[in-house]
Symmetry: D3
Subunit: 308 residues, 6 copies
C-alpha cells in the first residue's frame, strides 16, 4: 500500500505547482468534431471541464455544429450548398442554423454540464452582442466575418462562476443573424478577453509537417513558424481557420494555443496539469519556457507568490 501511496504522492508533487498556477486563469475551448458527436466522449470532455472549473480555472466554450444543420435543412426541403467550404446561408437556412445551434446543440451541452450543477449558461453571439459580424458576400447570404467581440457578458458570467457556452452565431449592425466560423469565434474571444490559453479540440492529433506521415506531428511551434506555415499554404482545409485563430490569439497576448485530439480521453486534463503536451502547441516567439502550458511555481520562490 505504501508504494502505491508514494506513487500518488509523486504525481501530486509534480502537479501541485501547476494546479496552484492555473487557479483563476481563463481558458477558451473550441469544441467540435467527433469528440462532440460521440456520447461517451462528450461526457468525458464535459466532466474534465467541470473538474477544471472546480479547481478554479474558468473555461469558456465555443462550438459550432454542422451536421445537424444539414440534416434539418434536408428534412425541410431547403437547399444544402457550400462554396469554398462555407455553407451558403440564405435567410431561411439561417433560421435553421439558429434553431439547431442555439435551440439544440447548445442546449445539449448545457444540459450535460448542468448535470454536475447549475453552472452552465447557453449563449450565442446575439446575447449581449457578444459577437458582431458583417456579410462576407452577397452570394454566400448570411455568412458573416467577425468584426467585434463584446466581452462584458462573458466577463460578468465568469466572475459569477458560470461556464458560458457560446454557439457560433453572430449579430450584424443591421440586427440580422450571421453564420460564423466557430474556430474564428474561439480565437477572437480568447484574444478579446485576454485568455491564458485557447484550445482547439478536434479529430486529429495536431498539425503534421506531412499529413500523410503520422510520424511528422509537430509538437511545438513558435508564432513565427506558424505564420510561415500559413504562408506556405499547404495546410489541410479544416486546419486553416484553427491555425489562423491560434496566430490571432497569440498575437493578441494569449499565452498558449493548442490543437488537441478531443477523442483522446482526458486530453484536456493532461494538457493543463502535466508537462507533456498532447498534439500541437503554439507559443510566442520569445518563449523560452518548457513544454508545459502554465508556468510552474518553483518552490524556492514561494514568498513572492504568497506575499506579492
Amino acid at each position: 500500500m505504501f508504494e502505491q501511496a508514494l506513487d500518488k504522492a509523486e504525481v501530486l508533487i509534480e502537479a501541485l505547482p501547476w494546479i496552484k498556477e492555473a487557479t483563476g486563469k481563463t481558458v477558451v475551448i473550441k469544441y467540435g468534431g467527433a469528440a462532440m458527436v460521440d456520447d461517451e466522449l462528450r461526457e468525458n470532455v464535459m466532466s474534465d471541464i467541470v473538474l477544471m472549473k472546480l479547481i478554479g480555472i474558468n473555461p469558456v466554450i465555443v462550438h459550432g455544429g454542422g451536421k445537424d444543420i444539414t440534416r434539418l435543412s434536408e428534412q425541410l426541403g431547403l437547399p444544402v450548398a457550400f462554396k469554398d467550404g462555407l455553407r451558403v446561408t440564405p435567410p431561411e437556412v439561417m433560421d435553421i442554423v439558429k434553431m439547431v445551434l442555439v435551440g439544440k446543440v447548445n442546449q445539449e451541452l448545457v444540459a450535460q454540464l448542468n448535470g454536475h450543477g447549475h453552472i452552465a449558461v447557453g449563449l450565442n453571439g446575439a446575447d449581449g452582442h457578444i459577437v458582431k459580424a458583417e456579410q462576407v458576400s452577397e452570394e454566400l447570404g448570411l455568412v458573416g466575418s467577425v468584426t467585434a467581440i463584446d466581452t462584458t457578458l462573458i466577463a460578468d458570467l465568469v466572475t459569477n462562476d458560470y461556464i458560458p457556452l457560446i454557439a457560433s452565431v453572430a449579430v450584424g449592425a443591421d440586427g440580422r443573424s450571421y453564420n460564423v466560423n466557430a474556430d474564428v469565434v474561439a480565437g477572437e474571444v480568447a484574444a478579446a478577453i485576454g485568455a491564458h490559453k485557447v484550445i482547439f479540440l478536434t479529430d486529429v492529433d495536431g498539425l503534421y509537417r506531412d499529413f500523410s506521415d503520422k510520424g511528422s506531428l509537430i509538437s511545438r511551434l513558435s508564432l513565427a513558424e506558424a505564420r510561415a506555415l500559413l504562408e506556405e499554404g499547404q495546410l489541410a482545409k479544416g486546419m486553416l481557420p484553427k491555425l489562423q485563430s491560434c496566430v490571432k490569439a497569440l498575437a493578441s497576448g494569449v499565452f498558449r494555443a493548442h490543437i488537441l485530439n478531443g477523442t483522446i480521453p482526458h486530453a484536456l486534463l493532461i494538457e493543463v496539469f502535466t508537462d507533456e503536451g498532447i498534439g500541437t502547441m503554439i507559443v510566442p516567439d520569445e518563449d523560452g519556457l518548457s513544454r508545459g502550458g502554465f508556468v510552474a511555481a518553483p518552490l524556492d520562490n514561494l514568498a513572492s507568490k504568497l506575499h506579492g
Copy 2:
C-alpha cells in the same frame, strides 16, 4: 408655448414621485399572444421595456410561443395533438419546442431588445437550472409542471444590468427538457425573485365579470376575490393559468399583479408611471392603496427617503 410647457410640467409633477419610487424595482413581464406576433406592436413593447430599464427598473421577461411550434412540427411531419389544452409532447416534438422557443422566438426578442444596446440575454429554464420541472403524465410526454426556480442566474444578470429573456422550457431532475406553461413560469419566477410586480401582456383587456359583456371589465380585484373567481370555475381557458399565477405571486409577496392588453400602445408605460390602471389589477387583501402600481413618495416625507 408657455401653456404647452406648463402642461408638460404638470405631467412631470405627477410622474416624478412614481419614477423615483420605481427605481431599482424588478418587474416580471409575461409576453405572448398577438402583441408578440405583430411586428409593430412588438417593437412598441420592446421600446417601452428599454425605457423602463433606462429609468432604473429591472424587467425580466418570460415568453412562450405556440404557433411556430405547430408550424414546424407540421413541416417535419410530426403529430400535433393537444389534451386539456396541453400540447402532447413526445421527445421528438420536445426537440421542436426547444428549437423554436430557444433558437427562434427567444432570439428574435433578444435581437429586437439589443437593437437598443447590448442589454438582453436569451435564456431558458435549463441555463443555470433556472426552471425545474417534473412530468405531468405519461400520455402528455414531456409536458412538465414547475417544481423549483433557481434565481441565482437571473439575480446575477439583473445585478449586472441585463434584461433576461426566459423561454418557457424547463429541465427535469432526469436531465431531460420539459415543455412548461409560460404563464406559470412567469408567476413562479416573480414569486421566487420577490418581484415588485408581475404583468401578463395578453390579447384581451383584462378579466370580465361576464365575458360577453365588454362593460364588465374588472378594474381592481383583491386576492380574496381572485381566489373566489377561481373557485367559481367560470374563467375563460386562457385566463385560468394567468389568474392562478397572479394568485400564486401575490401569495408569495409580489406587490401587484396585472393582466393587460399588450396591443394597446405603451400599455406598460402607462401602467407603471401613472395612477390610472389599464386592464385588471390584483392586489393583496389588506391593501388600502390607491389604484397606482407603485407607492408614490409624498413630498413632505422626503427626509426619510433621502437620509434613511
Copy 3:
C-alpha cells in the same frame, strides 16, 4: 381615457431620457428678485427644487436679499448709500447685512424647504470658509470681491443629500465679513464645484438684443457671443454680473448657464426636463447640441450607459 393616458405616455417617453441623464448632476441656482419676495412664487420655486432633489439632482442655492437690508438699516437710523450699484457697507451696516441675510432671508428659505423634509441647511460664506473675499475699496467699506471658494463643506452636504442654501456673505483673510454680490457667488460656486448647470432666476425673461423690444429675447447664446455682448457694454445694470458669472462658469467647464424668469410657474422644471428652453441659455462655443440642458440618452446607445 386611453387618449389621455397615451398623451401622458408621450410626455414620459420624451422626458424619461432627460430624467435618467439628470440623476446625480449638481445644479447651482441663484435665487433672487421678485420670485423670492412673493410668497406663492417662492413656494412654487421651492417645491420644484424639492422635486428635482427627489429625482436625484443636487441643487445648491445661492441668494442675496437687498430690500430687507435697506429697511432694517433705515429702522436703525443707519445710512443707506450706493456707489456704482454697490451698497456702501461700513462695519455697522455689515452687521445688518449678516443679520438680515443669514438670520432672516436664509432662514425663511430653509424653513420653506424643510416643510418638505429635513433636507435644507442654511449657510453663508463664513461656514467652512466657503467664500473668501477681499476688500474692493476703502470707500465702499466691507464690500468684497470673491477671491476663493472652498467646496469641501458644500460637497460633504451634497454627498449626504442635503440642499445647501448659501447667503452671499463672505469672509476675508482678516477674519472680517464681507458683503459680496450673490450673482458672482453663484457663478464662482458653480465653477468651483464643477456644476452641470448654473441657473439665474430673476424677474425678466432673459437677455434682450434690444431691451425695449420684447420680441428680441435671445434664446441661445454661445460663450463667444456672450463675451462680445459684455464688450459692447450695452447690458442692463442688473444683467451685467449675471452674464459675467455665466461666462465665468462656462469658461470653467460648467455645461450650461441659464437666465430665467423665476416668476413663470415651474420654469425650473420645464428647463431641466424638456427640450424647449425658457429665457436665455448660454452654451460653450464648440457646442453642437440641441436646445436641451442635459444630453439626452439616445435609446440605441443604452449599453454604454448601463455597463460602462
Copy 4:
C-alpha cells in the same frame, strides 16, 4: 534642564492615557454667559476647543445670547418683557431673536473658530430640523419647549470633521421658529447623539450647597443627589435648567455632565485631560470611577485596546 524635562514627562505620563481614551468621543459644550462676551476669554475657549478637535475629540457647541436681543429690540422700539425668566416673544421679536442669534452671535463664533481652519459650521435648530419645539403658552408667544432632536445633520458634520455651532432657535411642526432655552437644547442634543459628556460653561464655579458660602461648592454629585437637589427647589434660577439638562442627559446615557466656570483659563482642557475636576461634576449613580471624566486606559490591559 533635565528636571524640567522630567516634570513634563510626568505630566505626559499622566495625560497620555486620557488623551488616548478621549479620541473619537463627542462632547457637547453649552457656551454662554460672561465667558462668551469677553473677547479674550472667548478666544481662550475657542482655542481650547480647536485643540480638543485636533486631538480627535468631537466638540458640538450650543449657544444662546440674551443681551444682544434685548439691545436690538430696544433699538427697534420693540417691547422687552420677561415672564418667569422667559422672554415674551411675539413674532416680531422672534425675528429679532433669529437675526441676532443666527445672523450675529453664531457668526461671530464661527468666524473665531474658522480663524484656526475651515472647521466650523454655523447652524440653528431649523437647519436639517435639528431641534423641533412646540409653543409653551399663548401669552409667551413663540417661546418653545423642545419636542424632538434630529441628529442626522450633526452626525454627518461630525463625521466629516466639522465643529457644529448650534444657535438655540427651534422649528415647530407649524413651520414657525421658536425661541428655546440653550441649556435645554444642549442637554437634549447630548442625550440624542449619545455624547460622552455635556459641559455647561457658565459664570460661576459650579453648584453650591449654600450659594452664599463660597466654600460649599459641590465637587461631585451623583444622579440621585442631583435629582434630590432639584426636588428641594432651592437652586438659583439660572442653575435650574442647567441641572435639569444634566439630569436629562445622564438619564439618557451621557457619561458625565459638568458645570464649569468658563472664565477660568483653559477650564475645558483641564477638565478633559486631567484627573482633578473644576466646578461640579454629575455622574451616574452606579459610578465608582475616579474624579476624571474619561476612563483612563490602564497600561497593563493594553492588548484588548489594541487588538480588540
Copy 5:
C-alpha cells in the same frame, strides 16, 4: 506515453476534489521525535509542508525538543532529572530550555522552511502571550500546565500567509516562562483556532490494540472509542498526551485528529490528498464519512460550492 499520461489523469481526477476542499483550511502539525532529528526526513517533511502551503492550506507547527536540552544541561553541569516523565525544571534549567527550544531548535526549522521562501516565523508561547500556563507543582519547578491560548497572533500571521512555528514554552500570569508538553500545546492550539485537523508526527505507525502485535494497528477510531482507550489505561507513555490531545481537539470541534509515522516519506501529503489513511485517525462519533480527511466535493453538487 498516452498510458502514462492517462494514469496521471486518473490520480488527478481522484485528487482534484480533495485539493479544492482543502484550500483555506488550517492544519496544526505537532512535529517531533526521530522525524525531526534526521536531516533528510526533516527536509522531506518541511517540503511537504511548503507544498501544502502552496496549494492554500495553512499549516501551524508546534514542536518540542528534549534531547538537546539534556545535552546542554549536562555540558553546563546542571542536574538532569525526570519525575513521572516530566523534566524537573528549576529556573536555571528553564533558561536552558528556552535557549535550546527558542534559540536553536525553532531557528533550525525556521531556516529550513525559509529556504523555500520568506514564509516561516519562529514563535514561542510568550510571543503575543500565545500560550499561558501555571505551575504544576513546586517540586517540578517551572513545569507548567496550559491554562489559555491567545489565538490573535497566530491568526494574524496565518492571514498574512506565514507559517507559524511555535516552540513549546509558555508564559505564566507571574511573567515567568514555563516548560510545557508540546503534544498538549498542539491539541490546545488546534482546539482554540478551530483547526480542521491536528496531526501528530511521531516515530511509530499509530495506536496499536496490542503494542507487541504489529498487526493490531488501529486505522480508525471514534471519539468514544478513544475515550474508552484512555480509561483502560494501557497506552504507551508517549501516546498518552497525544491521544488526550486528540480527544481534546475533537471535543472542541476539530474535524480530524491523526497520529502518523513521520519517518514515512510524504506521510503528510498522502494523508491530506488521498483517501487511504496512514496510521491512526480519530473522528467524531457521529461521523459517517469515508476514510478521507477532507470531505470530497462530489461533482454533481458543484453549484452550491461555486455559487453558495
Copy 6:
C-alpha cells in the same frame, strides 16, 4: 489648585500638537548597553515604549546583547576572541549567539513588554528573512554584513498593532545564520521601512566634539556635518556604527536620527513629545525646522489636517 492645573494645561497645550502629529508614525529604537542591563532602567524604557504605542506611535525595537554571549561561551569552554571590535564567530559560537540573543535576551524583553499586554513579538533576522547578510571574512567566521532587509513581516506585525523586537541575527543566502551588528540592523531597518525616526539608546549623552570635554556635547548635527565627522575619523569606536547608521537612515529618507542616553529616565518620552532634545539629533541638510522631532501642527492650518 488652579495654578497647578494651569501649569498642566500649559504642558498639554505644548504637547497636544506633537501628539497629534506622532500618531501613526513608526520609530525604530536600537536598545542596548547599560540601559538594557539594569532592571529598573529596563522597566522604565519598556513602559515608555508601551506609552508611545498606546498613543498610536509604532515602535520597532532592535537589540544585541554581547555580555551574555561571552559568559555562556566561557561556561561551555569555547574561545572568546575579537578582531577589530568584532567577535570571531565560528559555527559553534554562532549557536551560542543565537541561543543567547534569540532564546534569552529577546525573550526577556518580550516578557517585560507583554507584562503590559499581549503586544510584543520576538523575532530575529531569520524570521520571514527580515535581515539577510553575507560573510565579512573567513577569519571572522559567521560575522556578517547586512545585504538586504525584507520589511514584509515587520509591516504585517505593525499593521496588526504588535511591537516587533528583533534580535540582531541574520540569515545568509546559504541558509546559515550570521552574527551582525545591531546598530547597523537598526539603521537598515529604519531606512527600509521608511521610519520617521531612528533612536539609538546608549550609555553616553550623545556625540561630543571633544570626548574629554563634557561641555562639548553636540545637540544638533546636519547630515553633511555628520558625514564630515565620519571622515575626520576621530569618533569613539562604539559611536562609529551608530553614526554611520544615522547617516544611512537619513540618506534613505528617515526624518530624524537620535543618539540618546538611555539611562536618563523617560529620555524617549521627552525626546518624542517635547521640543527640547536630549543628546544628539541628526537632521537632513535642507532642514530648517525647529529642534523638535516631529513637525508640530500649527493650529491655524487645521483644515488641511482634518479634511485633507
